[in-house]
């Protein structure tokens, strides 16, 4: 009897746990999470004895991942955000997947948009397989344009056209011409579209680039939108309202990514009309206004990477391949949170004009600096602080940008 008991107790439990680290709400029960969990379950069913464990980090994802690495406790698979990918890739926190890609006849990099692959490539090496992405675009509410008899934005509009359009649409508080938010990942494209930039990539220096005359002009333009022409409420006023004015149907234009569509589809009901403030069928998407020959925007992306301490490399590759497959992505992408990195899925799902307009902006998409420069996440708060100084504290753009450039150089070049 005792022998049977011992045999029973000693039976090894052949369970392989594959851990996946990602950011988000660890206790979320929304449809996106449910759908994701179902996809993981399907993988487990196809791989008996394998358990997928999702480690969701609610805040400070990058710091947590770096500490995990230092402690030798990395998850097997990391979801890589383009905005901080460089830190993981340049410091060898993730593995080069090129050998697996090359050895696998069933996997083809050609299935993915090149601009999304570029985010995590270094020459021939590839450190993450992209899952989905979003370009930053101008959203506009067509009903407001029709109401105030303003022509829809054209692909080749410049800053002056944009201002003219915003002014014509501006009838606050029920209809602001534009909603501007001081979030650097959401406004860096304004600099690019006026011929400016944040850094000199070759020297990794900001002084002389960030405080260029073009950028001073752009900061002045953004300041005028808020403080002179008053076509946008100030970021402070937006904070105090605590609502998304565009989603609420109280603004004609805004800048955001594809993820906002999820919220726009659930626009709050206007008590006066009993209808949603924003009818998402009235939504239009336009490229960023540009004083340059072509419009430019930033592409934010997420992808699957294998950690350098991955305990089950073969299984991890199987999982990455599974999650980035056509079959799975057709299900995953139903959430509509972003555009699929697979061309076949993105094109299959682009049945509406809106999605087609989104896809059209991809050609002008640039990788965020965070995908190439270590610690770029430190630059963004400095940029925001500089614009805040101009918008709220009326500091001249040249002074704010010069101060910010010095700080950025200091942060990025600490010995």
């Amino acid at each position: 009897m005792a022998g049977f008991c011992l045999i029973g107790c000693a039976t090894p439990h052949h369970e392989i746990v594959l851990t996946i680290a990602t950011w988000g709400d660890p206790v979320s029960t929304d449809s996106y999470t449910k759908s994701l969990n179902q996809l993981y379950k399907n993988f487990e069913l196809d791989h008996p004895g394998v358990v997928i464990k999702r480690e969701v980090v609610p805040d400070q994802y990058v710091s947590k991942m770096v500490l995990d690495h230092d402690a030798g406790a990395q998850a097997d698979i990391l979801i890589l955000d383009a905005a901080s990918a460089a830190l993981f890739i340049n410091n060898h926190l993730v593995k080069n997947l090129q050998p697996q890609v090359q050895a696998d006849p069933n996997f083809h990099l050609q299935d993915f948009y090149p601009s999304t692959l570029a985010i995590a490539d270094r020459g021939k090496a590839i450190y993450a397989i992209p899952q989905d992405f979003t370009p930053m675009v101008i959203y506009y509410d067509k009903s407001k344009f029709i109401k105030y008899n303003v022509p829809f934005p054209k692909d080749n509009w410049d800053f002056a056209d944009f201002l003219k359009t915003a002014k014509a649409l501006n009838h606050p508080p029920n209809c602001w011409g534009f909603v501007f938010g001081n979030w650097m990942p959401g406004w860096v494209m304004w600099l690019w579209n006026n011929g400016g930039d944040v850094l000199n990539l070759s020297t990794k220096r900001s002084l002389g680039t960030l405080n260029s005359p073009q950028n001073c002009q752009t900061f002045q333009f953004l300041n005028d939108l808020v403080n002179t022409d008053k076509v946008s409420p100030s970021p402070s006023a937006q904070n105090s309202l605590g609502i998304d004015l565009f989603a609420n149907g109280d603004a004609a234009m805004t800048v955001s990514g594809h993820w906002s569509l999820v919220g726009y589809k659930q626009s709050p009901i206007d008590p006066k009309t009993g209808k949603p403030g924003l009818n998402w069928k009235n939504l239009g998407v336009a490229p960023m206004p540009h004083n340059t020959p072509t419009p430019q925007t930033v592409i934010y992306e997420s992808g699957y990477a294998e950690s350098s301490q991955c305990r089950h490399p073969k299984l991890a590759w199987e999982f990455i391949k599974y999650m980035t497959s056509y079959k799975v992505q057709m299900v995953y992408n139903q959430s509509g949170i972003a555009i699929d990195a697979r061309k076949d899925v993105a094109e299959a799902r682009a049945t509406s004009n809106l999605e087609k307009e989104f896809l059209a902006t991809v050609s002008g998409g640039r990788s965020p600096y965070g995908s190439k420069i270590n610690n770029y996440t430190l630059v963004e708060p400095i940029g925001q602080s500089a614009l805040e100084a101009v918008l709220t504290n009326h500091v001249p753009p040249k002074q704010a940008l010069t101060e910010a450039a010095k700080q950025i150089d200091n942060e990025l070049n600490i010995p």
């Binding site: 500490l67 402070s236 105090s240 610690n375 430190l378 708060p381 925001q384 602080s385 805040e388 010995p415």
Partner: protein
Amino acid sequence: MAQTQIKQARAAWGFLSLSLLHLAAFAIYPILFSFFISLYHWNILDDHRRFVGFANYLFSLKEPTFLNALWNSCLFTALSVPLGLAAGLLAAILVAQPLRGITVFRAIFYIPAISSGVATSIMWIYIYLPTNGLINTVLGWLHINNATDFLHDARFAMLSLVFMSIVTGLGPRMVLYLSGIMAIPPSLYEAASIDGATGWTSFKKITLPMLTPTTLFVVVTSTIGAMQLFTPVYMMTQGGPEGKTDVIGYHIYTDAWQNFATGLASAKSFILLAAILLISLVQFKMVKSGLEGYGA
């Protein structure tokens, strides 16, 4: 006799051992290790760690953003400690009155001290919101400009943090002063009253001098707390606007956990420690004369 002493010593070491072990593992070792890495170019992401001596210290003392953070911490301390002290003393005098239901007020004053720092900070974000925040709403009722964004306006951001710290730190300071006030023998006031001393004279000549040890304790602990300010800055201003609230605690945090420059952050922590020690020594010296006069 000797055997009893040995037994007692063994028992004492037995009781102390756990605490000593805890202290060694979670205080002494980290402090020593932190000093060790402050002498190195030590980045979590970089395996090539090299000895640089005091280079991190010298770099910090020349770094404009660190000097700005040092200045901001000193400014915050210089404003919040004396004002907090005065507010705590005033509250203690008020709640020391033998009134009905006074314990309710004591409890109310103390509530912010037992609340989570994060939760309190979020509440204060709402208090400081432009237009709809509590303060701006009251200003609006008084027909005063109610659009001030206290946390993003360079003129008000630091003052807003100071005001918040005075209110949230009121409870502990009040309790300390209250216990000091309660410990003053009533006979002193009775004697002063017979000699014709008024309320203000009694306060100046009896209460304040008798509270000198309490004041010293409150000043030193409040100064240490103020110099280590972190949570409200992290939650409410992230060092902005224009670096006006970038205090040392937050600055060290960004160096360590966003730039991963652990060696540099450790050096800055020791500079902070030195600054706190220096300020505390000056405070001790300044109050010492008061204590001597009081007869301590």
